[in-house]
Symmetry: C2
């Protein structure tokens, strides 16, 4: 008799963003005239940059000709994309990452969810609290987390690293030793960042304890360039830290960088020398990639290449500036209205303390009901997210301004 | 200390098609003037149909405007695509499958590889021998297969179902009871088909024993329409069999149907009522889909929709006819040259017995070396594939004719 994977039954509720989507859909059906502003899910709203559109059209045309047609992509992704990534995202920042350490994929969510597979189920994971749910949920499914306790809202075998106002939403090095450490900076959901010297402490800690850091840098494009000149800058990549190639895997996304949420493109860096317990990780991830995935579409990889061209870079810098201005508007507006807010400077997320000790979900309902604004309840990201609320800077300018006006009332 | 998933180390050699790609690359580098004809990997060569190209351009244009831009797709895929699939691929063939039982994905390879995750590691799988490697390898990675014995070329805990000349390359119902049964018809690699009455036996067997059939129908578009009128037709879908919704999941691909190998689109059908051990499978796959995947690109889903339009359907029927004519040329040509061949009628694969009891890899080397033709060694698909060889009908007409001429010498 076929038996299901019972680990799935340990997952409390449905996937956070699916729940939100359902609640908003139901509200919209009940109130068809409501002018709902969505600052909840981290989805962009600006159209694709003209250089990206141009590259897509050109690649589509190629696919319509016998000479230009491309079938299955190479396992790791097209060389034209991997080499420009290695050059512009890493070598240009002094990180010694080569094209064959880049694995092109259909997005950072897939990679973040799938990476745990190459590790045994006997590893102990450490995650921030609050945290992007995919890190935890994918480990629950694999049976790496133990049982869920609905009182503490925690899984028995996970090491939670509280991210609080007191520590500037950057976790301390855990006392209990983890095997796999998930870090995400600029952070989702809090919008907090880590400086290079603090990240170096994590790298040193991981090397000392033979742990592997799974570093999600999906939001690095939002880091202010001005930071680079400071004494302790905000790093774009963990490989800016010494020794990181011995202990870290990094995830990158085109979704937030270049508005590819609907195009699907990301990549993962697995350094060739990265080893744990005497085994290299590169061949394992290559095997996983080759066995259960068949490449990102050629046309989308060409679109990704256009992001690095002169024209594309300029256009995308403008888009990011647009979203960063939204973040500033929300941050300033809410501060003025008396809210306690953080994040939103090197990140597209604003982390807001709910007023009057309201629970995150009560605040969600209030915002949706009274102001027709959709945000994300902080408690959906973990117990230390309770009494917090995430707003995103990815709306249109008009909606962002109107949302702040509504909430300020 | 981080520990790897040691199940990966049980995998013998590298992924079959990666090995072939490496061998061909090395040969090409050593013989830069060689005119290599690739009939190995099942990759199509015809350009995308004009209707598909048109739909892609239109969708790309949408993505460049504020009104038309689409971010994250709905979890299961866009309604416009799921509903046309349900209508044209199922309801039109008398199968009662609804749009919300369709999960759109980036391809059948991903889905075939990932589906095992929703089942416990304590399930026993049954696979055909020879078999598409992804079914076995993904289960090895999950720890469901036991150790590999290099003498027998078998994993200890897998039930192998020999597909031989004697049984027309259609397996017998296994004596040992499996929990999960992988079937693929029209078959990769043998090109064999199963009739509706024989498939009904499998459905009855699975229902009786509470097993789940994982049915890969990636090649259904190659089934001759003429078969529909016969007494015992070749089914396009397992849901043409009575009771299949209680015991089967089906995988479909746009790769071989519409030449999407480089665009990436497929879908999986999980009937809402499908249960095992008292648990429904639909919510588990929905959770997996929502947690570790973020949808196929909007533009590619629009391209998929175009496949079902009047124009698209006609153009794609022509493409399939083109490949089927290639299959006929290979089949007839090799027969005439004295080879024992099968498949190639309702399928794009021709299954060829190697001459003089040559091993499959020796024949691979001979073909590459002497005739500059790339095929796939049958033994790469399992021990009962030894002394066989797979050729595909996906080449261009010119290359197909030249390949047959070369081999016929």
């Amino acid at each position: 008799m076929a038996r299901i994977n019972r680990n799935y039954l340990k997952l409390p509720g449905s996937y956070l963003f699916s729940t939100i989507a359902r609640k908003v859909r139901e509200y919209g059906e009940a109130h068809p005239d409501a002018d709902i502003i969505r600052l909840g899910i981290g989805d962009v709203t600006q159209p694709l940059a003209p250089a990206v559109i141009k590259a897509l059209h050109a690649a589509v045309d190629e696919m319509g000709t016998a000479e230009g047609f491309r079938g299955y992509a190479p396992d790791l992704g097209y060389e034209f994309l991997r080499s420009v990534i290695a050059e512009k995202d890493f070598k240009a920042r002094g990180c010694d990452i080569s094209a064959d350490e880049i694995f092109v994929s259909d997005g950072a969510k897939s990679d973040c969810g799938n990476i745990q597979e190459i590790f045994g189920t006997n590893n102990r994971i450490a995650v921030c609290d609050p945290v992007y749910p995919v890190y935890v949920d994918s480990n629950v499914m694999a049976g790496r987390t133990g049982e869920y306790d609905s009182n503490t809202e925690r899984f028995a075998d996970v090491i939670y690293m509280p991210c609080l106002e007191e520590n500037g939403f950057v976790p301390e090095l855990p006392k209990e030793l983890p095997d796999l450490i998930y870090l995400c900076f600029p952070n989702n959901p809090t919008g907090a960042v880590i400086t290079k010297s603090r990240l170096q402490e994590w790298v040193d800690y991981a090397r000392k304890n033979d742990a592997v850091i799974l570093y999600d840098a999906a939001y690095e494009a939002f880091i202010d360039d001005a930071s680079a000149g400071s004494e302790d800058p905000v790093p774009h990549s963990i490989y800016e830290c010494e020794g990181a190639k011995d202990c870290a895997i990094e995830f990158r996304s085109f979704s937030k960088t270049a508005g590819f949420t609907g195009l699907r493109l990301g990549y993962t860096v697995v350094p060739k020398e990265l080893m744990t317990g005497g085994e290299k990780l590169w061949p394992l991830w290559a095997r996983r990639h080759g066995t259960k995935f068949n490449g990102a579409p050629y046309i989308v990889q060409r679109a990704g290449e256009a992001v690095y061209g002169e024209e594309g870079r300029a256009q995308i810098r403008e888009q990011i500036a647009y979203y960063k201005e939204n973040a500033r508007i929300i941050l300033e507006g809410l501060k003025k209205a008396g809210y306690e807010v953080s994040g939103g400077i090197h990140a597209p997320y604003i982390w807001l303390k709910t007023p009057d000790e309201m629970t995150s979900w009560d605040f969600f309902d209030l915002l949706l009901d009274r102001y027709n604004i959709v945000g994300t309840p902080g408690s959906g990201f973990g117990p230390h997210g309770e009494h917090y609320f995430r707003l995103t800077a990815f709306g249109s300018r008009g909606n962002t301004i109107r949302a702040v006006e509504r909430i300020s009332k």
